[in-house]
């Protein structure tokens, strides 16, 4: 009888330990980590706003005539792009209308990036060597978010986190970036 009682007391203690560890894990998941401070999105001052590309790659063209068409420029080579890709893969539909422009050395690497991160459900285009985005818009960095309106580049942001980008997009949502830049 005594070993059975001892066994059950031990089991209760073990269950208490499991509860304790589970609560610690739950609490630590709610505390923003150190990396949160490093999540950012800010207007990209290097990109020339107001330009209207002469040619539009397939996939990107659907953003041309929207009031606010968003293109996210990602690259298989940049670490932040992989983090953004993970966020996109877990997206519930908030970013479903964006187009992904994968700036890669060749199409094969761009496709591998799409497949690796399960981004096939988004509209995407592989920009070989980043030629279109650099020659037409002067974008040489990634991740970059480009906001088009009526065929012109209205806003551009450097970012490394989608929620931070969303906050920045909502802050600058009226398209006043272009107006401000033109006035200056």
């Amino acid at each position: 009888m005594i070993p059975v009682v001892f066994g059950f007391v031990l089991l209760v203690l073990v269950i208490a330990t499991i509860v304790l560890f589970a609560m610690m894990a739950e609490l630590s998941s709610r505390v923003p980590g150190r990396e949160v401070a490093n999540r950012w999105a800010r207007p990209d001052e290097q990109v020339q706003l107001g330009v209207s590309p002469a040619t539009w790659p397939p996939g990107v063209v659907r953003q041309r005539d929207k009031d606010r068409g968003i293109v996210l420029v990602l690259s298989p080579l940049c670490e932040s792009c992989a983090l953004v890709a993970v966020q996109l893969a877990a997206d519930d539909g908030e970013w479903r209308d964006v187009t992904l422009l994968i700036s890669a050395l060749d199409e094969q690497r761009g496709l591998a990036f799409i497949n690796e991160h399960h981004l096939g459900r988004f509209s995407w285009h592989v920009d070989e060597g980043g030629q279109w985005v650099s020659q037409n818009l002067g974008v040489n960095a990634s991740p970059t978010a480009l906001v088009f309106g009526q065929g012109r580049l209205r806003e551009a942001y450097s970012f490394n986190d989608l929620p931070a980008l969303r906050a920045e997009l909502e802050k600058e949502g009226s398209g006043n970036k272009l107006a401000r830049k033109e006035v200056v």
Partner: protein, 190 residues
């Protein structure tokens, strides 16, 4: 004797897994609902409401804990083994759905302890749990005394559940260990 050892090992392992999974889901019930919403899009509207309230995770957690504790007394181990097999079947089915739909959301199978998605691991663990019902049915006659079974299974389950818990939370356990060492070293210096 060999039958008893196999039975004890199987039931203790299953009870350890279910205890850790069940308790973790009771503490962190929301991720499971989100993962189900992802792999079962046809039921998205219903799952949306249940996922937000954490009802799915809590229900699964209670079922797992009851099944785990049911494996311990000799008198209830057979029905508990059948319940465990049903749970195992559900895990395997959800794992298959997760694999087919390329699930990306953490399943919360062990609460916030892991970021694992519904997939191959769920299939393997689920199928292993399904085998528990035939194992208990076959070993019923040859398992020996009930008292011997109960004494051993409780100890084995306690040990197994504790080891699995420490492995699942190995980062937190390592951090706690390092913190204790630092505190002790500072105490020695002073």
């Amino acid at each position: 004797m060999a039958d008893l050892i196999v039975l004890l090992a199987g039931n203790a392992a299953a009870a350890s897994v279910l205890l850790n999974a069940g308790v973790a889901k009771l503490v962190s019930p929301v991720p499971l609902g989100r993962a189900l919403r992802e792999v079962l899009p046809a039921h998205r509207q219903v799952l949306d409401r249940l996922a937000r309230s954490g009802a799915i995770g809590r229900f699964a957690g209670v079922a797992e804990v009851i099944a785990a504790l049911g494996l311990l007394p000799a008198t209830t181990r057979m029905p508990a083994a059948i319940a465990t097999a049903v749970l195992g079947g559900a895990f395997a089915a959800l794992g298959t759905a997760g694999l087919l739909r390329r699930s990306v959301k953490p399943c919360g199978c062990f609460g916030m302890a892991s970021n694992q998605r519904l997939g191959a691991t769920n299939i393997v663990v689920g199928l292993a749990l399904v085998l528990l019902a035939p194992l208990n049915a076959v070993a019923t006659a040859a398992a020996g005394s009930e008292a011997g079974y109960e004494q051993a299974i409780v100890m084995l389950t306690s040990l197994g559940a504790l080891l699995l818990c420490l492995w699942l939370h190995r980062r937190a356990a390592r951090n706690a260990w390092n913190l204790m060492r630092t505190i002790r070293q500072r105490g020695e210096v002073q």
